[in-house]
Amino acid sequence: MKKKSVYSYWFLVPMLVIYVVLFIIPIAISFFFSLTNWTFDGWSFCGIENFKTFFTEPSLYSSIGNTFIYAFLTSGLKVVLSFLIALFLTSGIKTKTFLRSVVFFPNLVSMIAVGLTFKAILNPTKGILNQFLGVLGIDGRDWLGDVSTALYSVIGVDVWKGLSIATVIFIAGIKSIDTTYIEAAKIDGANGWQLLKSIIFPLCRPAMNSVILLSLIGGLKSFDLIWAMTGGGPGYATDVIASVIYKQYAAGYYGLSTAGNVLMYAMIAVIAFPLQKFLLKAEEG
């Protein structure tokens, strides 16, 4: 006898309609427009010309490099630092509830506001960071105006802001570990390091995978913070793929910037899907 499903598939329709209208159709349209010379008044078909032009973009290769540096560095730092903070905040310290809110606070502020605030803090002559360093007798740098430090300064701010959400995920992961494991290990005479290495670390693997994946994808398509702090400059020193595309769009090269978006989509997919598969496998195994 055929077993009847409890719920009708019709329940899926509203979500499906939203998904198709807001995601599938725009993606299909953007694939089409990436093959056209598209101005705000109309379009003409131009084949793969836009993709060719996109690859001749002067800052493209440095921006791809910057994107990877940005994504892997922010992701790596966030995983390590937030794991340590989460360990600290799940330990027996007294003020942990207060500290947890403090850690979460940066996440309540919008990315643009964070960017503008840090731009003021990092101002080479008037910013409080260099004034503070001056009191200590250290000569501050031109953090955002110097080609060699600009990208890393933005990365530092991104990590500062992104730590909060990563820490919360880790806290949840650590808290969800059944205390009987820990008790059993303690009875067996495990010390703190062994506890961390053999119990906590492996058992919060799912949480770590979420943090890695989320922060890496976030880093790969990161734009708002860089735009608010440096606008991709000085020159092209902090340009990432998303800011290259935005500048093309702002200049009115709609077809070209759409082609860039299609390429960025492909690039993120190529990185994110295998990574997710790998991480899931590691989680199961």
């Binding site: 705000f40 101002n123 002559t125 955002l144 105006g145 400059g233 000085p234 500048k247 702002a250």
Partner: protein, 438 residues
């Protein structure tokens, strides 16, 4: 089960139709109201005006107030974001049909990217456009018509300098680039800063290059037409490379923290007397005269010099124009307002509330009393002797979008002079291809 589901769908469909019907009714009711409103002649006519600016424009606001009492048109001014975001906003509104009745926007290349014959009212049949200066008229016209009237006065991309400091150190206005650099050395030797750079407001760093157009054209009169065809670029002629060399020459003289200094900082520094020069658009005089009105006549202007002391000329920028929206249903009111905007009374009011930053674009209008000396003495002499060229964006539509990035790369040492010139050419030609100008 199936039957019930079907009934539900029908019910949902019916209620959707009813809702649609309701909105349709209210929609038509609205439009009929609007029709009634238009019918009555005695009421004040209202039009909207859109302008991209970060700060309030006193001149424009006063003229709009005057329009209400003089010609019975109330102008509702909408300030939108300034910079490249304004381009996006305008293009989006043009394609969705939401543009205000009157748009304030740059003439020249930027206007042409909006396809003016399609979107703006052709004013060529009206007498008042004959009052416009011919150069300005050409910057707001294409083959199909004339679209705009000027708001304010021209500007120049030139060297603004502190006259007190020049007097103090006994310096002369330089006639060649080498003299300029030697002046800079003397200022530095006296313990002051020679050149202000305001990279924090990124567009300002292009002025030393773009303001050198007079010198490029002095030896290459056909440059622009060859440039448009993609035959000759800045990198291919010595004068073009020199424009970028000049920017590179200025870098060692910049003040500390120049990467973060803003336009407002620049104004403050220039009047302070501790800084010698600022290569900027003279529209900064507006800001300086409103913030530091006592010091406005401490500021002088000279053209970016070339190599020939006998041929020093200035590069000019045209003021923004007011353009009438062709799709608006208030065509008559719009044209009436534009005509009023270039009337003697309106211009007088405008200039009383906004600094004069260069010669005017309407024939037969005198400088008002509050005109800075930098304009009446310094700048006017170039115009009187005909030593003026327009900036690239008013000579050709081919003008790239990444000039700021190219200049910034040169300043921070990521490009050398030749690379910068080549990158600039490539960027301009890419724009021509993308926007279908060729």
């Amino acid at each position: 089960m199936r039957k019930k589901m079907g009934a539900k769908i029908v019910a949902f469909g019916l209620s959707a139709v009813m809702l649609l019907g309701l909105t349709a009714c209210s929609g038509s009711a609205d439009s009929s109201n609007a029709d009634n409103g238009e019918g009555s002649e005695n009421e004040l006519h209202e039009i909207t005006l859109q302008v991209g600016s970060d700060s309030a424009l006193a001149g424009l606001e006063e003229v709009c107030k005057l329009a209400e009492s003089e010609i019975g048109i109330k102008v509702d001014i909408e300030y939108t974001v300034a910079g490249t975001d304004t381009d996006n906003l305008i293009k989006t509104r043009l394609s969705t049909g939401d543009l205000a009745d009157v748009l304030v926007y740059s003439p020249g290349a930027l206007l042409m990217t909006l396809n003016p014959s399609e979107h703006f009212i052709d004013l060529s049949e009206y007498d008042f456009v004959d009052k416009l200066d011919e150069t300005y008229k050409s910057a707001v016209s294409d083959d199909n018509g004339v679209y705009g009237v000027p708001m304010g006065t021209t500007r120049a991309g030139a060297v603004m300098y502190n006259k007190n400091l020049y007097d103090e150190l006994g310096l002369e206005v330089p006639k060649t680039w080498d003299e300029f650099l030697s002046n800079c050395d003397k200022i530095e030797a006296a313990g002051k800063n020679a050149i202000i750079c305001t990279m924090g407001t990124s567009y300002t760093i292009q002025v030393p290059v773009l303001g050198d157009m007079y010198n490029v054209l002095a030896d290459n009169p056909d440059f622009i037409s060859e440039f448009e065809k993609g035959e000759v670029g800045f990198a291919d002629i010595p004068e073009g490379v020199t424009s970028f060399q000049k920017l590179a020459d200025t870098v060692p003289y910049y003040q500390d923290g120049y990467t973060a200094a803003t336009y407002d900082d620049g104004c403050e520094m220039l009047v302070s007397g501790d800084y010698g020069h600022w290569i900027m658009l003279t529209s900064a005089l507006t800001n300086i005269s409103s913030l530091y009105s006592d010091n406005i006549n401490d500021i002088g202007v000279f053209a970016i010099p070339g190599d020939d002391p006998e041929n020093v000329g200035i590069t000019a920028w045209m003021p923004n124009g007011l353009y009438g929206n062709k799709d608006s249903d208030k065509q008559e009111d719009i044209v009436k307002f534009l005509e009023f905007f270039v009337s003697e009374k309106a211009i007088e009011t405008y200039l009383a509330n906004d600094a004069v930053t260069g010669p005017l674009c309407v024939k037969g209008v005198e400088y008002p009393e509050n005109t800075p000396e930098a304009v009446t003495n310094d700048m006017q002499s170039y115009y009187d002797s005909g030593k003026v060229s327009l900036a690239q964006e008013f000579l050709t539509q081919v003008k790239g979008s990444a000039t700021t990035e190219v200049c910034s790369s040169l300043i921070t040492g990521q490009y050398n002079v030749e690379q910068a010139a080549e990158a600039y050419d490539d960027d301009c030609w890419k724009q021509a291809e993308q926007l279908g100008i060729k």
